[in-house]
Amino acid sequence: MASLVGSRVERKEDKRFLTGKGRYTSDINIVNQTYAIFIRSPHARAKIKKIDTSKASKAPGVVDILTGEHIAKDKIGGLIAGWAIRSEDGSEMKCPANPPLAKDNVNFVGDPIAVVFAETLDEAKAAAELVKVDYKILKAVTSLADTMKSETIHEGIDKNMCYDWLLGDRQKVKEAFDKADKIIKLDITNNRLIPNAMEPRACVVDYNTASEEITCYTTSQNPHLSRLIMSAFGGVTPENKLRVVAPDVGGGFGSKINLYNEEIVCSWAAKKIERPIKWVAERTESFLTDTHGRDHITHAELAVTNDGKFLGFKNETIANLGAYARVFGTVTPTYLFGPCATGVYVMPAAYTNVKAVYTNTAPVDAYRGAGRPEATYTIERIVDKAAIELGMDPIEIRMKNFPTEFPFKQTLVHQVDSGDYVGGLNKAKEMSDYDGFATRKKESESKGKLRGIGVTTYFEACGIAPSPVVMMLGCGVGLWESAEVRFNPTGQVTVYTGSHSHGQSHETTFAQIAADELGVPIENIDVVHGDTDKGTFGMGTYGSRSLAVGGIAIVNACKKIVTKGKKIAAKMLEASEEDVEFKDGEFVVSKSNKKKTIGEVAFASYLPGVRDEVKSPLPEGEEPGLVESSFFDPANFSFPAGSHICEVEIDPETGEVKLDKYTAVDDFGTIVNPLIVEGQVHGGLAQGIGQALYENAQYDQTGQLITASYMDYTMPRADNFPEFNIGYTCTKATTNPLGVKGCGEAGTIAATPTVMNAVINALGGREISLPATAEKVWKACKENKKSKAEAA
């Protein structure tokens, strides 16, 4: 049987999506459901003086109106940060309480303060307008640069600072800088982004008055974690009485990792009002209240020798957490950011210092790449700046500083098990026709256009495990993953995974893996995920970890199935276990033609007997059935890497940037399904390019989000992109049996610096901030023209 791992298998899950039969949370309706509308703060920072619901509660169709007072009375807990980060001085991070409905203070526009339940959506909306809230408006803290000098947002959190964190060795860096020929300095802003999964958040909650079980259907990347937090921290109901289902989910990109206010409130309230509740966010609500991404200000310095060798690096960053610290909010700018700060280079000394601060804006959390894009952007921009200042080619300076031997002990934390950075960059150079750039530049110039080329080489740390390491670093849970593989008596297989697919194609790739391991046709394998009542437990999907952690749990569970199956087969075939081999779905007695298929073994395991004879196929002491589970905790993170090269053409008259060519060469280790991996790369690139050229979440001084719709927040569209040129190199991960590394975030991590390096190259090295909008580029062109004229 040909191996399915490595082949372009079309997706098993596609048919339902293509025919309109997908079942997303907002498609679910429960008889007798009520509709929830949340009343949200229109102010970025205010004290709630009074909430008057008297008029609203008499409005037609209103079932109930609940506020923060009710939450407090019922002792419902709030939202939490999942990682405890310690400051350089040893003190613990400072996090404010984040109640599901604000009772005393609101801290960003969109902060929910009350909820109306009514018989119809229109009635709920009409009643919500009648709720009168008296606010004392306070001055909002919105400028990231000034936050530490501003008024204190949360009582007891001085300078609005959550932590002041250090990774690395300041003294060593100082020594390295003292030896340098040149210090390259760079100040950058990593702009705030809004993830914008196309499916707005939603939840539908049912309460069973007989069993007292709450079922919450929700748009989540990790239903088990949501259940855990709702039970353990929210106190909504014990875990065994709470079922969280994340059915088809329309994209997440990090924004659906978090448990949100609405899910806690609706789950708690469904029990309280004894009615099902449906809540679906409008896009504007999503803009205001989904967790946002990025938002750093960074000062970086790179110490180099005159011939381009790196000696040391420092990264001083202020990271915006928004109004509250959420699940991955505190780790994204620390352990997901700091260790990757020195990129793919041999860097004798380095440190990263991050001050994470609160502002009166939406909470900032993981967004595709989470920390690694910000780290990569900084190092890749400063390396390019070094090349410019030293008069070197951007490829040459990178090659000069690559490690050539693996495992590679990266400066700050990671032990990178495998890679081939030189091979990857050479391949990208060839595929992009790097050497032909000069000719293409001339052609552009003959049309009055500018052309630039940009290079990025990156690595990332994904998988976000092993558990003992992440828990040592402050993670509140272990980041293993679980799987259960169940044979039915009639031979089909159901694979339960704790990972969650919201576009990643687990139903196909995980079935490919199981099909190879078990020798069962892929058609007979179903992958089930997203329901706490079905799978044992799961940590969910983020950090490109599904395959490298969740996929391996499936491999291991399958291996256990084969081990047990072999024992049963041996008994059935009257052979010794050592003589039985498993291959292509069959247990074969060596040097004979005696065999049993795994289906026959499964059947026998469930029906262990025959008529008229007391005879079991099961060996002594073996239990009936063929079901195995595995909890996999890898030995290390996994380290995808790659080299991207792109070219842009700029119209200096308008400043419009056209992305003309884009080449990506990535090393994801073993590729299970190239069709799906290409899709992941394309999508990642689009988001990274979006940050470089289009997307920018902006608040005004009063804390109003001024990019709260697709009229103002630029979502990349089909006509913004060229056809991407994709290639791979492969060095297998040594820390898992498949050799896989992860591919979900790579494109996003690499694309932003690649495009910006190209834009800045076209502008003759003139710095420009993210995103490179037409007006900014136009201004830079004008300034270049002016300085040229002055020089002449």
């Binding site: 293509l18 025919t19 309109g20 499916e199 707005p200 088809d248 989910v249 329309g250 899709g679 006509d719």
Partner: protein, 155 residues
Amino acid sequence: MKKVSLEINGKKVTKEIPDHITLSSFLRDTLNLTGTHIGCDTSQCGACVVHVDGKSIKSCTALAADLEGSKITTIEGLAKNGKMHPMQEAFKKTHGLQCGFCTPGMIMSAVDLLKSKKNPSDTEIRDWLEGNICRCTGYQNIVAAVKEAASKMKS
């Protein structure tokens, strides 16, 4: 309330509906045709695209009451006798979808393109899809799907 009679996916439908409900809400909430999705409030994402009298429109920006007598095709009506439309097949073949949320609108829009342009270029496809936002795919495999469908539908 208004009584409207229209044809949806080949079936005559007559319903008493509130004057102000949109076609998307009528399809999803009244008829349980939840394949038509709502992704924004400003008529831009295109997840709700359906065909009205053969032309693609955004169903979130049309009143159901306004469509008396129209023939409407939604994503649920595209497959015939259990066989998917060549555009649906092409999206599967080229991996033109990931989370699937924008997909119904994307497909309905792409089917409309091929009505007027049998053999569109990459640029024409990308321009046509201006009203459909996808956050997952980077559009490349969607463009490939439309080309694949065009070539299948020609032969």
